[in-house]
């Protein structure tokens, strides 16, 4: 509407004169329909047919998107600052890197985003950011795909009709004009953004009766409540894992998920390298198998309902005053006692970490134990909360729903979150939402919540918009956009500015307005520095010493019941990544499932219930039921079932809708993470699940070699002697020397967490296609690096071993002599090169590869989708049907380094070439470099006593070698 005095409602009706001045005025009118019929007569029938009309809108959206694409190669209109060593101009083939941050659960990880000619193509960690130090997780890696997701919401819609931001602004302002905010509610996810919080506070000042509710489906309410139990206030806990010699986790996945996990993994595994330092020791109590627990030297699994007792037992054994009366009597008592003795022996250098999903009392007890051990200030740092408002999210959401149902909410703005899908089933959020007269939803996708709101607003992706976010320790990053919005998207900042009545404002101006007074020193300089570095200096929260005000006591233990455990999905989180093909196809670290979630049972429980993999069962709880396929997970606690949230989406997009089951339907607001009394019924049906690994044991072949610190000390050859490798001179051929560079890789299995960040990074770097569930079922996934997961020991308490497997770049590569057209050959520097152009696709190389790391384009997998083509790395060939492909050691990065070195006249330095997998690895488990350089990191690793070549007995002479995993068991427990 160009005329501000018109109301939104009026704009929906035709002008008296039958004229129209703007498209939005015309939208939804009979005239518009008539026009469309005239314009597109062949679609006229579809327009009348409701289904066809949807299809038409999609087509129209797509064509609008194409129109939008014409502008997408232009950089954002404001000055953003390249990270380092900016080439003078944009040079094709030369990427620029910009610092920004990725937020999950409101908590940021610093990134450097690679941009080719204005298109962001690859995400790296920001080495200057404390939560990243250069590494990322799989979510951050894959978040770039969401930017280019062809199913992203592209236009403002009102009641399903395409309209404009202008129309929305008019409707909203007319609604709020003169209001004091009564009945206005803003629902956000967890907010750590200082600017957003500032904006909301301003808004609250303008509309004093308005309310602000935060809700994250993967909430940290228990953490906050636990902190209140211990300190009477909400305190943020930061761990200094690198200082801890003994770590005990209580159901914590702190190395692979949650605030700061990328940093924690790095710090933790820095203490797992026998060459560098004495090993730390990890004890894990798991209530469902975790990746952290899989790395433990000692692990026990208990049901979540027993976790409190375990925590009390630790507290009792460690002299926590509140637990003085506790005498441990559970079956794990001896184990707890031994672990507690070990903790006690390392006072001030030990650490107890509770899991975010554990009940508040466990958190409170962990605080008490860390306090009793003198860890506070050493391995545990307390700070003020990083959330702008550390409220109890579930309580405020429950109150909001009650208000909505009572008709007290007139205007609801939902920013980013998808509560219709993620709210616990007992709240009946969707039903209550319908009672709100004016509902607005700002989101990346037109999702379940959008469908229940009149107004849907497309949100700008974080790579398209200005914003800011705090990390686990409070460090703030100003997020810069890498590209102007591909579609008609705006950020929450921009929407709130409109709400504030300041008129449309640009995110850039909002950011600058907030930071104008808050950056130290001269503003422009400080602003540029903050953008350049990706961190705002001095924003890390200072340590604080909260008062100890315990308000908890031992309670009677509830009766033992069969338990259901809810957890975020390891690859699609709370469901927001459901339409992200990379994450859907990223095998879930422990189950190796793709494209589905499952009900996870321990082998013993499954046997008792007569369940087998892929049986479909009905899980019923509190009047709700879902049908879920069974997956048996060794190491799962007995008498419980784990379900992952995030699946069963109905409006996620083409990739994510209609797959898996919706575990939120069983979730109650009072029991977010576990609940008793679940009923299990067999349905007699089965559902094929696409797992990428079908055999879980090593069959006595020991591809993963495991030793203990003691064994290695006693005999340095113990690892090498676990297999036999032929001597290099046992050949009739002259030795091949690679003069100059001799590239090699070493992977430390002791440091591999199995998280899959490397897989996602490789997929992003090397333009690997997504193939879909059907093709995964056929065994045709295209990941150049996979993480194998083996179990050793009994099925109920197995040892879980991870092994990333990529092309081993064998010096005697079995794939090379069998290729009839010479499409795979050795380079001068010892790489096993794949010549796509020459490949005719006989697949003989793959058959003859003992590692099976080659992947074949059985069908036309690479996408022609216009937005997805923007994502491609221009330095890597996009492979077509019928061609073999495999890991190249990121040869494009080697070549880029070579070009730089030739320009500089300097040889390539160690660490200058970082492969995609290596760069992403949170635990720094991969070393890559020049083996001709005796002091390179990879040379040193390969000289380690832990070094061995996988299947070296075949005389393949792999260039990639592995460092055996070392355990550091407690002798006291090891004997038992």
């Amino acid at each position: 509407m160009s005329n501000g005095s018109d109301t939104a409602h009026e704009s929906l009706h035709p002008n008296r004169l039958g004229q129209w001045r703007s498209l939005d005025e015309l939208a939804g009118t009979p005239e518009f329909e008539a026009l469309l019929q005239r314009e597109f007569p062949e679609r006229a029938a579809e327009w009348l047919d409701p289904v066809g009309r949807r299809a038409f809108l999609q087509l129209m959206g797509a064509s609008l998107a194409l129109a939008g694409l014409t502008s997408c190669s232009s950089p954002p209109s404001h000055t953003i600052v390249p990270y380092a060593k900016a080439p003078e101009d944009l040079v094709p083939g030369k990427p620029l890197f910009y610092a920004t941050a990725f937020a999950q659960g409101g908590i940021g990880t610093g990134l450097l985003v690679e941009s080719h000619m204005g298109r962001p193509t690859k995400i790296e960690g920001n080495p200057q950011h404390p939560a990243s130090l250069g590494a990322t997780d799989a979510f951050a890696q894959a978040s770039i795909l969401s930017l280019y997701d062809p199913d992203r919401s592209q236009t403002v819609t009102n009641g399903g009709q395409i309209t404009t931001w202008k129309a929305f602004v008019a409707a909203l302002t007319s609604r709020l004009a003169g209001s004091s905010g009564a009945g206005l509610c803003i629902l956000t996810e967890t907010v750590t953004s200082p600017t957003l919080a500032w904006q909301i506070r301003q808004l609250m000042a303008k509309y004093p009766q308005a309310t602000w509710v935060q809700y994250d489906a993967i909430s940290r309410d228990a953490v906050r409540q636990g902190s209140r139990l211990a300190f009477g206030e909400v305190i943020n806990t930061v761990y200094r894992v690198e200082r801890a010699e003994v770590v005990v986790t209580l159901g914590a996945e702190f190395l692979a998920a949650g605030p700061g996990h990328v940093r924690y993994a790095r710090d933790f595994f820095a203490r797992r390298r026998v060459e560098a330092a004495p090993l730390n020791r990890l004890y894990a109590v798991d209530s469902t198998p975790t990746l952290t627990g899989a790395m433990a030297d000692h692990r026990v699994t208990v049901r979540q309902q027993d976790m409190e007792a375990i925590a009390w037992a630790f507290a009792g054994a460690l002299g926590v005053p509140e637990a003085a009366a506790i005498s441990a009597s559970m079956p794990q008592a001896a184990w707890v006692a031994a672990a507690a003795r070990d903790l006690k022996a390392h006072q001030g250098a030990s650490l107890v970490v509770p899991g975010d999903e554990q009940p508040p009392i466990v958190h409170a007890l962990a605080h008490a134990i860390n306090r009793a051990l003198g860890n506070v200030g050493q391995t545990v740092i307390y700070t003020d909360p990083i959330e702008a408002d550390p409220a109890d999210q579930m309580a405020s959401l429950t109150a909001l729903v009650a208000n909505m149902r009572a008709g007290q909410v007139q205007t609801l703005l939902i920013l980013g979150s998808n509560p219709v899908y993620t709210a616990p089933a007992d709240l009946r959020f969707a039903e209550a939402l319908d009672k709100v007269p004016f509902r607005v939803h700002l989101s990346l996708e037109a999702d379940e919540t959008s469908a229940r709101c009149q107004w849907h607003l497309p949100e700008a992706h974080y790579l398209e918009a200005w914003g800011d976010v705090r990390a686990y320790d409070g460090t703030t990053t100003i997020q810069q956009p890498l590209i102007a919005p591909l579609y008609d998207g705006h950020s929450a900042h921009e929407l709130l500015a409109v709400l504030q009545g300041d008129g449309p404002q640009d995110g850039y101006d909002i950011m600058r307005a907030y930071w104008q007074t808050r950056l130290s020193g001269e503003f422009e300089r400080a602003w540029r520095t903050a953008l350049h570095d990706g961190v705002v200096g001095g924003t890390a929260l200072p340590p604080k010493t909260p008062g100890w005000k315990p308000s908890f006591a031992p309670a009677a233990q509830p009766a033992q019941v069969f338990e259901i455990i809810f957890r975020p999905d390891p690859t699609i989180w709370d469901g927001r990544f459901a339409n992200n093909g990379w994450l859907q196809e990223l095998p879930k670290p422990l189950t190796k499932l793709t494209w589905d979630n499952a009900a996870l049972f321990s082998p013993a429980t499954a046997e008792r219930l007569g369940l087998q993999n892929e049986d479909v069962i009905e899980l019923a709880l509190g009047g709700h039921s879902v049908q879920a396929p069974v997956w048996i997970l060794p190491g799962h606690p007995p008498d419980s079932v784990t379900v992952h949230l995030g699946y069963g989406r109905t409006r996620a997009g083409r990739a994510g809708s209609g797959i898996g089951f919706n575990a939120y339907l069983l979730r109650k607001s009072t029991a977010l993470w576990s609940a008793g009394g679940v009923e299990i019924k067999k349905t007699g049906r089965a559902l094929q699940l696409a797992s990428t690994q079908h055999h879980q044991t090593m069959q006595g072949r020991n591809p993963v070699r495991v030793g203990t610190v003691e064994e290695l000390k006693k005999d340095p050859h113990v690892i090498a002697e676990m297999g036999e490798a032929p001597a290099k001179d046992e050949t009739l051929y002259p030795p091949v020397t690679n003069e100059g560079y001799r590239w090699g890789m070493a992977i430390d299995l002791g440091a591999c967490l199995g998280c899959g960040a490397c897989v996602a990074a490789c997929q992003a770097e090397n333009n690997s296609p997504v193939v879909g569930k059907e093709q995964v079922l056929l065994g045709r996934e295209m990941h150049w690096i996979r993480v194998d997961r083996y179990y050793a020991g009994g099925p109920d308490a197995p040892e879980t071993l991870h092994q990333p497997l990529l092309c081993q770049q064998c010096e005697n590569a079995p794939c090379e002599p069998v290729c009839p057209v010479g499409a795979t050959v050795h380079s001068q520097e010892g790489l096993n090169d794949m010549v796509y152009n020459r490949c005719v696709g006989t697949r003989y190389c793959s058959n003859n590869c003992p590692y099976k790391v080659r992947h074949f384009n059985f069908l036309q997998y690479s996408s022609d989708q216009p937005t997805l083509r923007l994502l491609n790395n221009p330095n890597v060939t996009v492979r077509s049907r019928g061609v073999m492909e495999k890991c190249t050691y990121c040869v494009q990065r080697i070549n880029a380094a070579r070009i730089r070195s030739k320009e500089d006249g300097q040889p390539i330095k160690d660490g200058e070439v970082v492969t995609a997998c290596q760069g992403a690895c949170p635990s720094q488990a991969i070393a890559f470099g020049n083996l001709n350089d005796p002091v390179s990191k990879v040379s040193k690793w390969q000289a380690s006593a832990r070094n061995y070549g996988l299947l070296a007995e075949l005389n393949t002479r792999p260039r990639t070698t592995y460092l055996a995993r070392l355990r550091n068991p407690n002798p006291e427990l090891e004997k038992a």
Binding site: Q803, L805, G841, F858
Partner: protein
């Protein structure tokens, strides 16, 4: 027919034939105007199967080999199984024509023409698979050493390149051998054809054969030379095919026993296929006098002998596994015996090793339906053998994490059944337009004593 072993072998031709009656009988199968209904029925079925091949090939070319059941780790599936099977079947022809000729085995005369034709058709079927199994078949010519400006040259260390040479040489020599052997008979057909067009067609094919002494001399020399050339090919082709596997490092492939074992297997399956086809044909066309029980017995004996060699191969494979102590090899054997494809392995042992032992009995060899049954069993067994070698070796190799399964799709089956259709279609056309038994060579079998009487059987209705 007598079933007792007689010191004097039963004749290779029925009694009472003279030159004229032999020529009449064989050439009239071709030059008749009354094609039997059974021919039409057989041809219709075969031709329908051929259409399935067409559909499956077009499907494969349109969408890619992803329409098959292959995957990683099982990169080769039905296509290679069928390739090896068809090549093996092709072996009997050359063996019968060349090696038995050199050994002066007269009994080969009545089956060699047919066996050679079978070879050609089997090689045609086999040759299709390496081409369409490629990811990008339109670049199939890159496997040939064709000088070009693209810098493309075959990589001669690859057994697949050796395959190209072995199979194409084999196909060429087999074609020449077969065609040269046909020339005198084509002359006969030209002379006896009534219809003008038929006459012209056979005349052109006969290359001016007039049966002069000089022609016969040159013919004999050429035929002998070709036989000499073809003989080593019998050994080489399947040895080279076996290198596709033996040169690999996969347990179950990496075996030095493969070349002789493959050659024996090829001859085994080739003879089985000759029996499978000959037995119904001699019954349909009443050729019992030309293809006698003695022929059948000899072929059964070859089958038994080669079957025993193949069996020896199985035993030695197992022995080597045990003797080497290699854990990967041991697992390979264990997996064949007890793994997911164990039924196929046990069926293979039953078909190739156990049932053919019936052939020790002369009574079994004299029972034609039973012989037919055994030949079918051996064909199935040899197909299973290739399936076991290709699939079970690949599906579980070194690293348990990469293990997988293979199951064929409709396209895989379509290609297999379709090539059977191609093979049978060609065979039906062959028996309709060319003499399936060498007329002039059969005439040499007529005892030199003057024939007492004309052939007893009724002459087929005079054709045009």
């Amino acid at each position: 027919m007598t079933t007792t072993a007689t010191p004097e072998p039963s004749p290779v031709i029925g009694p009472g034939y003279n030159y004229g009656s032999i020529t009449d009988k064989i050439s009239l199968i071709v030059l008749t105007g009354n094609t039997p209904l059974s021919w039409f029925a057989g041809f219709a079925v075969s031709f329908a199967m051929l259409q399935l091949l067409q559909l499956a090939v077009v499907w494969t070319l349109l969408f890619g080999v992803g329409t098959w059941g292959i995957n990683i780790p099982v990169g080769w599936g039905f296509a290679i199984v069928n390739f090896v099977w068809w090549i093996g079947i092709g072996h009997a022809g050359t063996l019968i024509s060349a090696i038995l000729l050199l050994f002066r085995q007269q009994w080969r005369t009545s089956i060699n023409r047919f066996a050679e034709a079978m070879t050609l058709f089997a090689v045609s079927c086999a040759g299709l698979f390496p081409l369409i199994h490629m990811g990008r078949p339109w670049f199939g010519y890159w496997l040939f050493p064709i000088p070009n400006t693209m810098g493309i040259w075959p990589q001669f260390r690859s057994p697949l390149v050796w395959d190209v040479f072995a199979v194409s040489t084999y196909a060429t020599v087999s074609l020449l051998f077969w065609y040269v052997g046909l020339i005198p008979d084509l002359g006969t057909l030209r002379d006896r054809a009534r219809h003008r067009l038929t006459k012209i067609a056979y005349a052109m094919l006969a290359l001016g054969w007039r049966g002069s002494a000089r022609h016969w001399h040159r013919y004999e020399t050429a035929y002998l030379l070709l036989a000499g050339l073809a003989t080593p090919l019998v050994i080489s082709v399947h040895s080279v095919v076996s290198f596709d596997f033996a040169a690999g490092i996969i347990p179950g492939w990496h075996t030095t026993i493969f070349p002789p074992y493959f050659v024996a297997g090829a001859i085994y399956s080739g003879f089985a296929m000759v029996l499978t086809l000959m037995i119904p044909l001699r019954w349909l066309y009443r050729l019992e006098d030309f293809i006698t029980t003695r022929h059948l017995r000899y072929m059964a004996n070859v089958m038994l002998a080669t079957g025993l060699i193949v069996g020896y191969g199985y035993v030695m494979e197992a022995f080597t596994v045990w003797y080497s102590g290699n854990p990967y090899e041991s697992y390979m054997l264990l997996n064949r015996l007890t793994g997911p494809y164990a039924p196929a392995y046990w069926a293979l042992l039953l078909c190739n090793l156990v049932i053919p032992q019936l052939l020790w009995s002369d009574r079994v060899k004299a029972c034609v339906p039973l012989l037919f049954g055994i030949s079918l069993v051996v064909n199935v067994g040899m197909w299973l053998e290739r399936f076991i070698i290709v699939i079970t070796s690949l599906h579980r190799d070194f690293l348990p994490s990469s293990w997988g399964m293979y199951s064929p799709t409709w396209v895989d089956w379509g290609l297999y059944i379709g090539t059977l259709g191609l093979f049978l279609t060609l065979l039906f056309l062959f028996i309709r337009v060319l003499p399936m038994i060498s007329i002039f060579e059969m005439r040499t079998l007529v005892p030199t004593a003057p024939a007492p009487a004309p052939a007893p059987q009724p002459t087929p209705a005079a054709g045009d």
